[in-house]
Symmetry: C2
Subunit: 343 residues, 2 copies
DNA sequence: TTGAAAGCGCTAACAA
DNA sequence: TTGTTAGCGCTTTCAA
């Protein structure tokens, strides 16, 4: 791609300003030890000549880089888009470039993207995609990240990973418990769960919370239909159809993310199943649109933007001896999609 | 940030493999002129030693870089998130790193981000945020981009800009006309428009389409209430309240993006105004959730993901003599939020 | 087919 | 406070 022909170099600026290249460098990078008058003049000349530092040259010489990498499953997914927004916010504030890559929920792709970021010598890597329940799937990534950290790279993850690094932990278990408690508290006993692949820790944890709540309420979890589909709107639709067909006595669908819940709502509406009168529906995440659906969605709010901000801040902080953990909190948001079961 | 201590260098690989650094370089970057047996051995050694090329060194030496920059208003906005998804898709396919930055609908911030990307010597820059009606606002950006292109950089924009570069053009005017035609065709005569700042070309164009349609239908555009607010859900709420208060005879709210329409729907629902029986509501963009709202939203579909893909493909193509334009198409999607006005 | 060596543009010792 | 200079790790002539 681009073959940046000779543009203005530091050399040229230095000559034009009548100073050495070192002085020019200091003036422009704001290093101390240059008289203000000279620095001022150099900056002026640079500006006039349209000088733009070559980040590659700088990074190579200085051995440091002002950039970070962010790995998400899919940036088009609002959950990750909001996390990215948080990361970008802090990044901009700190004058960092942010490289974003897709892993597509595929460990191999994830590894590939991590290698790419390492090759780019980013200063930090944030992994926002969910971890996998099976540690073996990310073993290679773990090795690479360890090597990266040994060389001074910073790493932070969002969610539960087996990567041994700083982490921002969404309260998936607590949230799962809270939303299940909410439904149970309303009087529901026949609850179905709509979920994505339980190979992901995010999902496994949410499900574990639900199971805990059921156990406490004396509901046998073995009898709770857990319908697995894509963790998307489309998956939610399929799950809803399966639930209506195979479990007609169910009075509440507990969906493990908002996206699936939206799909569930859509099918119920199409089938003329009244929400929440006949069927309650709940989500998880509280994506921006959740409050504006009809009926508005009862869900667990996860502070995605904040999680993104926290993750980058964590990564930027001097590394400690042991992995740090930041809990991101959660909040049960009760809206119109849940109510007591029909009498 | 990260101070990558001596990691494995090409040098080390070369020594270990017993070849010169030049041969090692050729073997790893797939340049012709190395016997396959040697190349194979070098690759093996590199793999074993965990060698990762230093992109900065490579870019500096080769004068080219495998990365592109994407400027959006805000990645948390689904419109831009979907565009980004398209860009990332093509980027990944082509083995390119993608840097994403926020401009926040602010020309100064946009300029700053462009400079950052230029400093990073990205091979291409995609500007996805809307242009401004006033060319002066982007004059500085235009200069910088021109210099960037003179040095071999590629640029493509999404939307109408005064930047003189390759562009993917959403059919904003046609779309505006189509959605207005739809409402007029249903029999609406008292239509209110909910919109963001008309300083943006995206919005100005959509509005122009609406005006055309009105003119053709013999509706005096001067009598059409055009309510300006933030181009967000929140802005939609404010606009809806103003419309209900000041223009009680209106039978349809034509919102210039889906986000505002969602806010409008939310207020109407809260006020007990029946949609579409008493009031029709339309959006623009067809973000993923539009079809799953209640009532589902009649809107203009813009192929955001495709637009992102097209933009990067356009930028990657060898530059022509004159700016190229790609129309991205649009589609009127009629759903449940629009109907004939009350009798 | 291979190797030697000259940079790419910049930073950071070290000297003055 | 300023300047000189040795690299940073790689690609790419040019010569062998």
């Amino acid at each position: 791609m681009a073959k940046p022909q000779s543009s203005v170099r530091l050399q040229d600026v230095a000559e034009e300003a009548g100073v050495s290249i070192a002085t020019a460098s200091r003036s422009l990078s704001g290093t101390a030890g240059v008289s203000e008058s000279v620095a001022e003049r150099v900056r002026e000349v640079a500006q006039r000549m349209g000088y733009v530092v070559n980040v590659h040259a700088r990074s190579l010489a200085a051995g440091t880089s002002r950039s970070v990498g962010l790995v998400v499953h899919e940036i088009g997914d609002p959950y990750f888009a909001e996390i990215a927004s948080g990361v970008l916010r802090v990044g901009t504030r700190e004058g960092l470039t942010v490289q974003i890559c897709h892993s597509g929920r595929d460990p191999d792709r994830e590894l590939e993207q991590i290698r790419m970021l390492v090759a780019n010598r980013v200063g930090a890597i944030i992994i926002a995609g969910s971890g996998f329940v099976d540690p073996a799937l990310q073993a290679a990534a773990k090795r690479d990240l360890q090597a990266y950290r040994d060389q001074g790279g910073r790493v932070a993850v969002i969610g539960r990973h087996h990567l041994g690094v700083d982490a921002v932990l969404p309260e998936n278990v607590k949230g799962g418990r809270a939303i299940a408690d909410h439904l149970i508290g309303l009087g529901h006993r026949r609850i179905a769960v709509a979920t994505g692949s339980t190979a992901l820790t995010t999902i496994a944890d949410r499900l574990a919370g639900v199971e805990e709540a059921c156990a406490e309420a004396g509901i046998s979890f073995a009898d709770v239909p857990v319908v697995v589909a894509e963790f998307t709107r489309e998956g939610g639709k399929l799950a809803a159809e399966e639930i209506l067909r195979d479990h007609p006595d169910v009075t509440a669908v507990l969906s493990l993310n908002d996206d699936m819940a939206i799909g569930v709502l859509s099918v119920l509406r199409a089938r003329g199943v009244a929400v929440p009168e006949r069927m309650s529906v709940s989500g998880f995440d509280d994506v921006a649109v959740a409050g504006d659906l009809a009926p508005s969605l009862t869900t667990i709010r996860l502070p995605m933007v904040t999680m993104g901000e926290l993750a980058l801040e964590l990564a930027l902080k001097a590394p400690g001896n042991r992995p740090r953990r930041r809990s991101a909190g959660h909040e049960l948001v009760v809206r119109d999609s849940t109510a007591p079961p029909p009498a």
